[in-house]
């Protein structure tokens, strides 16, 4: 069974996430991820990004762009055999939904 090289690069992915969280600062509360197949059966890395309420409400374009670019700068997704997806929600939204995958 084919597995993308991304599955062997967890520490590299976590290090990149940590760098992005540090560089963007408090607007990003946390970034979680998982590797799996997307709707078309292609391998992908799914990032779940929780933002401060103000960042999600008033500066989504700016902060989301920084997160997406930041991760792409540190991680070579094509070389890892995955397509990157990024979904965002605010701290309050996650507090209301309490979804473990975003915790």
């Amino acid at each position: 069974m084919y597995l993308p090289t991304a599955v062997t690069k967890q520490s590299e992915i976590e290090a990149a996430i940590h760098r992005v969280e540090q560089s963007i600062g408090p607007d990003v509360v946390r970034i979680r991820y998982e590797i799996g197949e997307d709707w078309s059966g292609q391998w992908a890395i799914f990032f779940r990004i929780v933002l401060k309420d103000d960042a999600a409400r008033s500066r989504l374009r700016d902060v989301a762009t920084k997160v997406v670019w930041g991760l792409a700068q540190h991680l070579d997704f094509p070389a890892m055999g995955v397509f990157p997806y990024h979904n965002f929600r605010s701290e309050s939204e996650q507090a209301m939904l309490q979804e473990p995958a975003w915790a």
Binding site: W39, N87, S90, E93
Partner: protein, 154 residues
């Protein structure tokens, strides 16, 4: 204004209504419509160059969702993409995200949407429109559009 611009306007309107009424079905329609706005943007740009106007709709129906997302592009220098290359990479990433979210919005009944999901889909669609219209005349963009249509390099 063509279909693409109309869809974008509808996506914005649905997004606003969905948040105002806090209605999951409207949120799903907003996200789906945002994707279709981007989809038709590429289709329209491709078919407008076909000389025979009465055949353009038929030509446009050849676009397939999966192959559009799978079209590959790599900058000459991955670490230092040019400004145009970065815009194209942004378009590709945004389009892929819109497509994935549209699949979920239309078929994943378990997805609990929030306002940020909807506002992000609006952001992504607007970015695709703005960036694509800026670069669509560039060689790499024209070649990428061909790749989205399914044309091979060799």
């Amino acid at each position: 204004m063509g279909l693409a611009d109309d869809f974008l306007e509808d996506a914005r309107s649905l997004a606003d209504s969905s948040v105002l009424y806090n209605r999951q079905t409207l949120m799903r329609r907003a996200i789906s419509t945002a994707y279709y706005a981007a989809f038709h943007l590429f289709v329209e740009d491709f078919v407008e160059h076909w000389e025979f106007e009465d055949q353009r709709a038929r030509l446009g129906r050849m676009f397939n969702h999966g192959p559009m997302r799978n079209a590959v592009f790599a900058p000459k220098d991955k670490r230092n993409p040019t400004a145009v290359e970065q815009e194209l990479l942004d378009v590709i990433t945004a389009f892929g995200q819109l497509q994935k979210d549209r699949q979920r919005a239309d078929y994943d009944g378990g997805w609990r949407l929030v306002e940020t999901d909807v506002r992000d889909s609006k952001r992504l669609a607007e970015d695709v429109f703005a960036k694509w219209r800026k670069i669509k005349g560039e060689d790499i963009a024209r070649h990428h559009l061909l790749s989205m249509f399914g044309a091979k390099w060799d």
